[in-house]
């Protein structure tokens, strides 16, 4: 008995799912007529698709530039340091 009810409900659900008037292929199918709305969605989708790449790319570029600048500054400081240390500590010079 339970199996019959279950099968009946599944059948009814399947019929509802396959009703062509209810289910659309996508949320904006009504705009696919080549009109201005179609164009508007295209531009908006393009913009929103490019946005995350632009944002993440900008952050990555900023981090990269800051790292390069910091590394160059550090290398400049380190290049100066050994001369001073050797002059101050003759032991480190190996003599």
């Amino acid at each position: 008995m339970k199996l019959k009810i279950l099968l009946g409900l599944s059948g009814a659900f399947t019929l509802l799912v396959y009703l062509p008037a209810i289910a659309n292929a996508c949320a904006v199918c009504w705009a696919g007529d080549g009109g201005p709305t179609d164009n508007a969605f295209n531009w908006s989708v393009l913009f929103l698709m490019a946005a995350p790449y632009t944002v993440v790319g900008s952050i990555a570029a900023w981090l990269f530039c800051t790292y390069r600048r910091s590394a160059a500054k550090r290398a400049k400081n380190e290049a100066k340091q050994p001369l001073v240390r050797l002059a101050l500590n003759p032991e480190d010079s190996g003599r």
Binding site: A51, S58, I59, W62, Y67, S70, R74, E91
Partner: protein, 212 residues
């Protein structure tokens, strides 16, 4: 026997009889502070938030054959253009404030922060006055999609400028207390980043909403 060994040791070292002690390992300093990184990520999230709003605007703007819709007031392009220049000038002054703190010039730091806050306040005041005029002309949030989009985009930007201005005033007060130095100025640096973001966003919104 022990005494003889200690006597030989310095001689051996001078002839290469042992490696000199390794120099102390210097930790690599981070490229930025944690607060700096947090604000950078926050700005990324803010950019995505505005990208969503701009995306919605594009749908309505490009989808409408006539824009602005008929019987709707026109936006004040010239006044807002001048206001845009004022806001861009504030980005320059906040940058000068950051340079002043790095140079250790406290007087210039306070002056530049004050000028930035003043320019930001002028921008907000002019925007507010223009909004009042537009509301009197009949452009409200509920008057049309045009009005709704205008107040949503420009309004959110205005709110961000207000938030940045409050942050800037706190930084200004801290600078007057002498809380920033050449070595420690993360608060000012992060505030400058946020201010530059809201300023940099404005010309894009101005071009999109007022000029296109």
């Amino acid at each position: 026997m022990d005494e003889s060994l200690t006597a030989i040791e310095p001689k051996q070292r001078s002839f290469g009889g042992g490696e000199p002690p390794a120099p102390p390992v210097q930790p690599t300093p981070p490229i930025g502070s944690n607060a700096w990184l947090a604000v950078l990520i926050f700005l990324g999230a803010e950019a995505m938030f505005f990208a969503g709003l701009i995306g919605a605007y594009i749908v309505f703007r490009v989808g409408s054959p006539i824009w602005p819709p008929p019987f709707q007031p026109r936006l004040p392009i010239a006044t807002t253009g001048v206001n845009t220049l004022i806001l861009i000038a504030s980005a320059v002054t906040v940058r000068l404030a950051l340079k002043a703190v790095i140079a250790g010039n406290r007087k210039k730091l306070i002056l530049m922060l004050g000028v930035t806050a003043m320019l930001g306040s002028i921008f907000l005041a002019v925007q507010g006055l223009e909004w009042i005029r537009l509301i009197h002309f009949g452009l409200t949030v509920s008057s049309s999609v045009y009005g709704g989009l205008f107040y949503m985009l420009i309004g959110f930007h205005g709110l961000h400028v207000l938030g940045a201005l409050i942050w800037l005033l706190i930084v200004f007060w801290l600078a007057k207390q002498g809380r920033f130095s050449k070595e420690r100025h993360v608060g000012l640096q992060t505030c400058s980043m946020y201010w530059t973001f809201v300023v940099g966003l404005w010309p894009l919104l101005y071009g999109l909403v007022y000029l296109l």
